[in-house]
Assembly symmetry: C2
Homo-oligomer: 433 residues x 2
C-alpha cells in the first residue's frame, strides 16, 4: 500500500503524474463547490483538492484532523508557486474524530508553554515545532562532520559515575546496586583522559544538572557537544577550533535545513574567520565606561553579556565574541592559568548574540599541577584515581570546550525558552511526558 508512495516534498518533481502520498490530515477547508485537505508527512505538507462528496465521506467516517490517510492524485501547480494534488482518491487508514488537545498551526501560539510541553507528543507534529528539532539534528550533524574532518574521534563515556564531575552541588544521585552513583554533569574528566588515547576527541551525549532554579535557560537534562584536543599551543588554539566548528555547524545547517530555517525566519549568525576577542579585565573596563556595571566583579552578569554582544556586532560585525582571561577563582579546578596577568585563567567563554553559549580553555596537564589543584579543593585523591592515572603517565598540553545544543538552537532560532529547543524537556518539576 505504501510501496510507490512519494514524500510530499518530492511531488514537485512529478508534475503531471499520478502519485501516491501518505500522512496525517492537518486541516480541512470546505467551499461551496470544492474542498481542500492539507496533508502532512514526515517531511512537509501538501494541499489536496477534493470534492464536496469526498468531504462528506470523510465526515461519515469520522475522519477529522489527525487522521492517517493515503491519498492518490495528479500532481499539478497550485497557488503561490505551491504544488497540489487534483483528481484525488482518499483512503482513511486511521480515523480520528476528537480534536487535538492543542491546535497546531496558527492556533498553537495561543496555548501557554506548559500546555504545549504537556502535549508534546502531538504538539511536536506542528511543522514549526518540528522544524526546530530538525535544526537541532542538523546542528549536531554539522558539529560531527566538522570535527571528523579534523581528525577527531567520537567517544562514548559513562553517564553513571562514582563522583560528581564539576562539583558536589547540583548532581543527581542514583541507587546503583549496592553503591551510590551519580549522573554525569559533563564528560569533562573522561574526555581529558581520552586525549591520552586519541589526542582529538568529541562526544555528543546527555548531561544532567540538578539545578534547583527554574529559568528560561536551564534544563535538568541537556545535550552536551564536547570537544577536547591535545598538543595545543594555548587556549587560543582551542578557541580557533571552536570558531571553525561553529562555522561548520552553520554552514551545514544552510545546506541541510534551508526550508526549516526559512520557515522559522532564522537570520544566520555572522561568525568571522577570526573570532573577535576581548580580555575579561578589558571587558569590565568597557562595561564600567558604558555605565552598565562595576569595573571590578569576578564574572559577567546577563545584562553585561548582552551589552558586550551589541558591542561586538557594532565594532566587529560579529554575532559572536570571545571573552578570555576570566579570573581563576571562578573557573573549575582543572583550568590552566594564563601566562599573565596573575590570577587570570587560560580559558574563555563565547557569547552568541550576547548570551553565553560555550565555555572552554586550556587544562592543567602536569601531574603535579593536577594533584595540587585537587588537594586545594579538599577532594580526596582516591576519588579521582582514574583521572589522576592519565596524568601520572604522561599528558600533553590540551584543552577543549562544550556547547549546549539547546542553547545553540534557542539562540539561533530566537526561542524565548530553552524548553522549546528540546522534544521532551526536563526541569525541577517536569518529568512528563
Amino acid at each position: 500500500m505504501f510501496e510507490q508512495r512519494v514524500r510530499t516534498t518530492a511531488v514537485r518533481e512529478r508534475i503531471g503524474a499520478r502519485v501516491r502520498v501518505a500522512g496525517w490530515l492537518m486541516t480541512i477547508r470546505s467551499l461551496s463547490k470544492v474542498g481542500f485537505l492539507v496533508l502532512r508527512d514526515g517531511w512537509g505538507t501538501l494541499q489536496v483538492v477534493v470534492t464536496p462528496a469526498q468531504l462528506e465521506r470523510l465526515q461519515q467516517q469520522r475522519a477529522g484532523p489527525g487522521s492517517v490517510l493515503v491519498v492518490e492524485g495528479v500532481a499539478r501547480d497550485g497557488p503561490n508557486e505551491t504544488v497540489e494534488l487534483g483528481e484525488a482518491t482518499v483512503e482513511v487508514l486511521e480515523a480520528i474524530a476528537e480534536p487535538l488537545p492543542v491546535p497546531l498551526g496558527r492556533g498553537l501560539a495561543n496555548a501557554k508553554l506548559p500546555t504545549q510541553l504537556d502535549h508534546a507528543p502531538t504538539v511536536l507534529r506542528d511543522p514549526k515545532r518540528r522544524a526546530v528539532l530538525r535544526v537541532a539534528a542538523a546542528s549536531v550533524e554539522g558539529f560531527r562532520r566538522t570535527l571528523g574532518a579534523e581528525g577527531f574521534t567520537e567517544i562514548h563515556t559513562p553517564r553513571l559515575v562514582a563522583t560528581a564531575t564539576e562539583s558536589g552541588a547540583n548532581v543527581f544521585e542514583v541507587k546503583y546496586f549496592e553503591q551510590t552513583a551519580y549522573l554525569a554533569q559533563s564528560p569533562q574528566l573522561y574526555k581529558q583522559i581520552m586525549v591520552g588515547v586519541f589526542e582529538r576527541v568529541f562526544e555528543v551525549g546527555p548531561v544532567f544538572r540538578a539545578e534547583p532554579h527554574a529559568t528560561v535557560r536551564h534544563l535538568a537534562e541537556y545535550l552536551s557537544l564536547d570537544v577536547e584536543m591535545g598538543f595545543i599551543a594555548s587556549h587560543l588554539e582551542v578557541a580557533a577550533m571552536l570558531g571553525h566548528v561553529l562555522r561548520g555547524m552553520v554552514e551545514h545547517l544552510g545546506h541541510a535545513c534551508a526550508t526549516e530555517l526559512e520557515q522559522l525566519g532564522v537570520v544566520m549568525p555572522a561568525i568571522p574567520p577570526t573570532l573577535p576577542r576581548v580580555e575579561f579585565v578589558q571587558a569590565r573596563a568597557m562595561i564600567a565606561g558604558a555605565g552598565i556595571g562595576p569595573e571590578h566583579a569576578p564574572d559577567l552578569a546577563p545584562a553585561e553579556e548582552k551589552w558586550l554582544g551589541q558591542w561586538a556586532h557594532r565594532e566587529h560585525g560579529s554575532d559572536v565574541l570571545l571573552v578570555t582571561g576570566y579570573p581563576m577563582s571562578k573557573r573549575p579546578f582543572y583550568t590552566h592559568p594564563a601566562a599573565e596577568p596573575a590570577g587570570a585563567s587560560a580559558s574563555f567563554d563565547l557569547l552568541l548574540r550576547g548570551t553565553e553559549l560555550v565555555t572552554g580553555g586550556q587544562r592543567l596537564h602536569r601531574y603535579a599541577d593536577v594533584l595540587a589543584a585537587i588537594d586545594a579543593m579538599g577532594t580526596p585523591r582516591e576519588t579521582l584515581a582514574g583521572y589522576l592515572e592519565a596524568f601520572r603517565y604522561g599528558m600533553p598540553p590540551h584543552g577543549g570546550f562544550a556547547i549546549g545544543l539547546e542553547r545553540f538552537v534557542a539562540q539561533l532560532v530566537g526561542l524565548d525558552n530553552i524548553r522549546q529547543a528540546r522534544a521532551f524537556p526536563r526541569d525541577t518539576t517536569r518529568l512528563h511526558p
Copy 2:
C-alpha cells in the same frame, strides 16, 4: 611548537623531508651502536632511530615509556615496508619515570581483564585496545550515514523518565528533586511517539539496565542504536531496513577503519542483500531434528542460537540470520501480532554469527489495541499518558529495531567479553574508573 607537526600516519607521504611529530614514547630498544624509539600519537605509531648518546640523555632526564615527546627527523623507508625517522632530535615535554601499571603491547595480554579495566585510562592507549574503540566510533558513523541517506532524522529523547520503559524490573532509580525518576532502559516509547512527528527517526544514546547478573554479554550502561519507521507494510520491511543498515555499517567500516580492522584481524561478516530468515516454529523443529534442544520452548537458548548461526552460514553463506514469529508471550506489550500463526508476533531477532544482536518488529499502532495491551499488563493508563496521546491522535503502521553497539563490536572483532568493547564499562560492581 606543534604548528608544523604531522601525524605519524602522514609521514609516509613525506619521505626525504624533515618532519616534526609529537606523541607518547611507547618502547625503547637499545643496541650497541644505535637505539630505537617507538612513538605513538593519536593515529598511529612510528619508529625513530636515535644514537646511544640520545638514549643516555633520555635516561638522564628520567624519560621512560609514557613520556610526552616532540621529535624531528628525516622521513625514510624503514624495514618491512614501514617508514621511520632518522637524524632525529628529541625533546622531552613530560618525563615519565615510573613504569605503566599495566604494560601495553604484547605484555597486555598477560594482565587479567579486571586489572585492564581498572587501569583503562592508560590501557586504552594500547594500539589494539584503541583500535576497538575506533571501530566502535566508525560503526556508529556508518549507522547514522546510512539512515540519514534514507530520510531518517536523529532525535534526542530523555534519559530521565517517570516510568520504567520495558518493565518494572532492572531499572535504576534516581532521586529527582521532590520526585522519583528512572533511567531509561530504552528510548522505545519516545521513538514511537516521534514516528508521529518525523515518520523515520533514529537515536544513538546510552541506556541503562540494572541487570543483577554479571555475564560476558551484559552491561549496566550501553549505547543503543535505535531506529523506528512509519508507514510500513510489515515487520519484514523493518527487517529489510536492518539489513541495509548493517551492510552500511560494515561498508563504512571498510573505508574508515581499514588499518584498525587489519590490526585486529577482523573477518568482515557476510550480510547478503536479502537476509536469510527462519520462522521461530521452523527453527525449533530444526533444532529438535538436530538433537540440540526440545521442539517446544518459548525462546531460544544460546546453544540453539549458535547452532542456527552455523546453519545459516552453511546453508546460506550468511553470518546473519533473521528469526521471525517469536511467541507473543515472550515479547513486550507494544509488539504487533503476526497475521499467522495464532500466538506468533510480527517481530524478529537477528543473530550475528549465532548470537542475538538485534531485536525488532512491528508495533501496535491502533489506539484501542495499545489501550488493551496496557490494560492486560495491569499498568495504570495514566502512567503512560504521553505515549497514549500519540496513538489517540493517529499513528500509522510502524516498527523498528535496536542494535546494541558493544555487542555489535564484540561480535565483529571477536572479543571474549563485551566489557572490552567499551572504554569505561559499568556492571554490578564496577563504577570506576
